[in-house]
Structures are given as structure tokens and as C-alpha cells.
């Protein structure tokens, strides 16, 4: 039993080393094939990282979905505070901030630079405002609409303004990008399978004599196919590794510019590179794609070669 297992591993190790030897004996062709695969795989990985970085930088703007309630002028501050307490008790509401007319005027005076002009006003024209922020999990379009209707029904309220439309659009764009990314990844994976398949086809044609002799002395299709499968898997593995390197280099080059941009928004945000799990998935997936491409090609072309 142990002999059989040892022999099994010895055969596969031999096939793997033999395949690696074939690749190393044609370095230029191998490098070009691996580069094509690496660049094809780097694109979906890079796009995925872009989406994840944008989500991380913006936090999906989940805190930016809010409702602004403008009271009618002349509503007493105490009444506004009472209504603020009432809305705070509603399910799904995370925070309620009351900005009184006095606070709003002071804030406007500080930020607008129209201090002296405002001094000329006899009355404060600004209303009290409630800024209501729901929990991110609750901030569905349906919930926001029901909240708007609830608030609009108050006689003290002049205007209810939903501030989340642009966030919804932004998230929709990210969703679209993510869907496109999946589609691109699928197409590029097909491309990788085709590249490996074609490379293996040429390899099979180049080694036709060897295949004929191997079958002549009793080699099965499985035996003949084995080194080609390892070759395809090696192409996939090396292509995945190249994709990872390409993305790492790109991240390294872009990071300073991204950090500069983040600083202008007062953020300490740093670009995320691919993690260990990303690397594992990339290498596993690319190796599998290489194996699949070679299997499809070998199954198709090896059966046609018979010694004569």
C-alpha cells in the first residue's frame, strides 16, 4: 500500500518536474504566455481592489444618508426639541441632531464670511432644523420614504429633504462596477483557458512523435495527458503570481498619490493591497484555469494521435 502511494507520488512528481523542465527549456515562449495570462488576471484583481478601496474610503457613505427637517419660522425651540425626542424614539433612527436657528445663524456667520451683513438683519431668518440619521441597515428607500411622510405630517414642519439620493446613486454605480467586474473576470478567465488551451495544443503538436511512441509502448491517454495537465497548471500558477506582482507594483506606485488626495479631505486613508487570502484565491483560481485549459485541449487533441 505504502509502495503504491509512494509510486503514485513519484510518478506525479516526475510529471511535474518534467513539465517544469519543458517550460524552462523554452523561456521566451513561457515568459510571453505567462505575461499574457498575468495581465489578463491582473485586470479583474485590480478592479476588485479599486471597488474595495473606494468602499473602504467612503464607508459606502452609510453615515451620509440623512433627512433634514426644516421647521416653519416661528416654531418655538422647546417644541422643536420635543419633536426631536419623538423622532428619536422611532425604530431605525440612529441619531437626531437639533440645530436651532441661533446655532445655524452662528455657524453661518462663521463659515460664510458675511458676518457684518448678518449684523444688519433685525430678525434671524433661519429656521430650526432636525438632522435625522437612520441606522445604515435601516436606510432602505422604502424606510426613508415612510420617514419622510411621517415628518411631513407634522404641522410645524415646512420642508423635509432626503439627503441620500446621491449616495444611492453612488452605491448603484459601485454595484454596477462590481457586476461589470464579475463579467470581465468571467470573460478574462475564458481568455486564460483559451490561451492555455492553445499553448498546450501547440505543445502537443510539437511532441507528437513522443506521444506516438508513448502510446506505442502502452501509455494510456491518462498517462500521456498528465504532463500536459501539469504544464497547464504551472502556466496558471505563474500567471496568477504575475498578476499579483503587477497589482502590487501598481498599488506601490499609486499609494503616494492616493494618500495625497485623502489628506486634502483630512483623511488618513491608505490604499489596500491584495491580502494573503486574495493571493491564495488568485493562485488557486489561476492554477485551476490553467489545468482546465490544458485538460480541454489535451482531451481533444491527444485522442487523435495514435501510433502508426
Amino acid at each position: 500500500m505504502s509502495n503504491a502511494v509512494g509510486s503514485y507520488f513519484a510518478r506525479h512528481t516526475h510529471a511535474l518536474l518534467s513539465s517544469a523542465g519543458h517550460l524552462s527549456r523554452a523561456p521566451i515562449a513561457t515568459i510571453f504566455t505567462v505575461l499574457v495570462m498575468g495581465l489578463a488576471l491582473a485586470l479583474p484583481l485590480g478592479l476588485d481592489l479599486l471597488v474595495r478601496n473606494v468602499r473602504a474610503a467612503t464607508g459606502d457613505f452609510s453615515g451620509a444618508v440623512s433627512v433634514s427637517v426644516f421647521f416653519k419660522t416661528g416654531v418655538a425651540e422647546a417644541r422643536a426639541a420635543q419633536l426631536a425626542r419623538a423622532v428619536r424614539d422611532r425604530p431605525g433612527v440612529d441619531r437626531v441632531q437639533l440645530i436651532t436657528a441661533t446655532q445655524a445663524l452662528a455657524q453661518f456667520r462663521t463659515q460664510s464670511g458675511f458676518g457684518e451683513a448678518l449684523d444688519a438683519l433685525q430678525d434671524n431668518p433661519l429656521p430650526h432644523v432636525l438632522v435625522i440619521t437612520p441606522f445604515p441597515a435601516s436606510a432602505s428607500p422604502g424606510y426613508m420614504e415612510s420617514l419622510r411622510r411621517y415628518l411631513s405630517a407634522w404641522p410645524e414642519v415646512d420642508t423635509v429633504q432626503l439627503d441620500g439620493d446621491w449616495v444611492a446613486r453612488f452605491n448603484a454605480i459601485l454595484g454596477l462596477l462590481q457586476r461589470s467586474l464579475l463579467l470581465a473576470a468571467g470573460l478574462l478567465a475564458l481568455g486564460v483557458v483559451a490561451v492555455v488551451g492553445n499553448t498546450i495544443r501547440l505543445e502537443i503538436l510539437n511532441r507528437r512523435a513522443e506521444i506516438e511512441v508513448t502510446k506505442l509502448v502502452g501509455g494510456t491517454n491518462g498517462f500521456v495527458r498528465r504532463p500536459f495537465l501539469y504544464t497547464g497548471a504551472l502556466y496558471g500558477f505563474l500567471g496568477g503570481l504575475t498578476a499579483w506582482l503587477v497589482v502590487m507594483v501598481a498599488i506601490h506606485l499609486i499609494t503616494p498619490a492616493a494618500a495625497n488626495l485623502a489628506r486634502t479631505y483630512g483623511s488618513q486613508f491608505m490604499l489596500m493591497g491584495p491580502g494573503v487570502r486574495d493571493l491564495e484565491m488568485l493562485l488557486g483560481g489561476s492554477t485551476l484555469l490553467g489545468w482546465l485549459g490544458s485538460w480541454l485541449s489535451a482531451a481533444r487533441h491527444l485522442a487523435r494521435i495514435e501510433p502508426g
Binding site: 513519484a10 516526475h14 511512441v213 509502448v217 498517462f223 495514435e306 501510433p307
Partner: protein, 231 residues
């Protein structure tokens, strides 16, 4: 051991290589196939080695009807038939050791077993010490002997050879034939297709004459017509 019953072989291009051929080779016998180029000798060998299947009739090799053998059993069948070609069919980028070891590798033999038997086979053909050499570094005769070592390493009960002495000088040709005789003496059934009628006559063994895809005669060696022998 090898039985042809009314075998017809027609290739895809329409050429009829064998027309109603019937023959019998007994277990442990050594027999020659002679005849002109294109007579059908190689086709008979291909049918024995299951490189081709008969169009009509039956080919029985070691009890197996080759026309009915399922594709998945073909590799195991081929391991029981050693084949020697005139053009050797060696893997030019592999050393002698790897070439000779190939039948054992495909049969999943252990590395220890492969090492032992490759050396024994090379010793048998007088090439021990050439394991690391590439085929191109060997003479034509030595390449032929590597091909023979590959054909016999898995100790097949049947050995077939297609013009094995075609590229060899008379001295080497005699050595190769002596090797086949030694294998035959230990029980291997040997079928050799050849033009070399002098070797056939010297052997004193049965020869089957093929002409135009038919058996023109089966003669004891030494009784071949002089004109035929000169050709």
C-alpha cells in the same frame, strides 16, 4: 498465439494492403515475413501490434480478438507486444536510459525496478554504460539496439520487428538477428519483416512470402528462389 483468419485491410485512402490473408504463428516460434516494398508486410505487423484494426476477418493475438478489443484495453495489449522499427523511433531529446525505460514508466513500475531492468536490457544489447548518452551521440546500429532494448524491457511474449536490419551493415545485421534468436530461445514469439533474404536463409527458420497483399507461400529457409534472394 498469432492467428490471421481471412484478413482484409483497406486503408482510408482506399488502398487495399491485405487481401484475404490467413496465417498462424505458434507460441515461441520465430518467423520471417518477406516480400517487396508495399507487399503488405508492415500492415501485418501493425495489425499484430494493434496499430491498425482489420477491415474484415479476425486477428487473434494471445487469444485477444484485436477487432473487438475495447479502446481502454489497447494500452495493456500493446504492453504485451514489443515493437522494433527500422527508423528506431527514439525520443531524440531523451537519454538512452529514458528511452529504454519508457515501457516500464507507462506501466507504473517502481524506480528501483526501472533502474535494474534498464541496465539489464542495455547489457543484453551490449550498450551498458551508454545510459546518459543521447540517441544522436550513438551510431545507427547502436540506436537500433536501443530500440530493441526498449522493445524487450517489459519482457513481452511477442516481439515484432519491421526491417530491423535495413540500415545496418552485414556484421551489425547478423548481431541483431542473433539477439532475436536468443530472445526466441527463451520463449519469445518473434515476427520479423525483412528484405534481407540472406539473413532469412541463414536462419533456417520459416518465412512467409507476401505479394500484393496475399500470402504467396510459406517456405523453409534455404529453398527461396535464387532470383528472389538476389532482389
Amino acid at each position: 498465439m498469432i492467428i490471421f483468419e481471412s484478413v482484409v485491410k483497406r486503408y482510408r485512402n482506399g488502398r487495399e494492403a491485405l487481401l484475404n490473408v490467413s496465417l498462424h504463428v505458434a507460441p515461441g516460434e520465430m518467423v520471417f515475413l518477406t516480400g517487396r516494398s508495399g507487399a503488405g508486410k508492415s500492415t501485418i505487423l501493425k495489425l499484430i501490434a494493434l496499430l491498425e484494426r482489420p477491415t474484415r476477418g479476425r486477428v487473434l493475438v494471445g487469444g485477444a480478438d484485436t477487432a473487438k478489443l475495447p479502446a481502454r484495453q489497447v494500452p495493456a495489449f500493446r504492453r504485451r507486444v514489443g515493437v522494433v522499427f527500422q527508423d528506431h523511433r527514439l525520443l531524440v531529446d531523451r537519454p538512452v536510459f529514458d528511452n529504454v525505460a519508457l515501457p516500464l514508466i507507462v506501466a507504473d513500475s517502481s524506480l528501483k525496478e526501472i533502474d535494474k531492468r534498464v541496465r539489464a536490457a542495455l547489457d543484453q544489447v551490449g550498450l551498458l554504460g551508454s545510459e546518459r548518452m543521447l540517441p544522436a551521440e550513438l551510431s545507427v546500429g547502436e540506436q537500433q539496439r536501443v530500440g530493441i532494448a526498449r522493445a524487450i524491457i517489459s519482457r513481452p511474449p511477442i516481439l515484432i520487428a519491421d526491417e530491423p536490419t535495413g540500415n545496418l551493415d552485414p556484421q551489425l545485421a547478423s548481431e541483431v538477428m542473433a539477439l532475436f534468436r536468443r530472445l526466441n530461445e527463451v520463449g519469445v514469439t518473434v515476427v520479423v519483416a525483412t528484405h534481407d533474404l540472406h539473413l532469412v536463409r541463414e536462419s533456417g527458420l520459416r518465412s512467409i512470402v507476401i505479394e500484393g497483399g496475399r500470402i504467396a507461400g510459406a517456405e523453409p529457409s534455404g529453398t527461396l528462389p535464387v532470383m528472389e534472394a538476389r532482389r
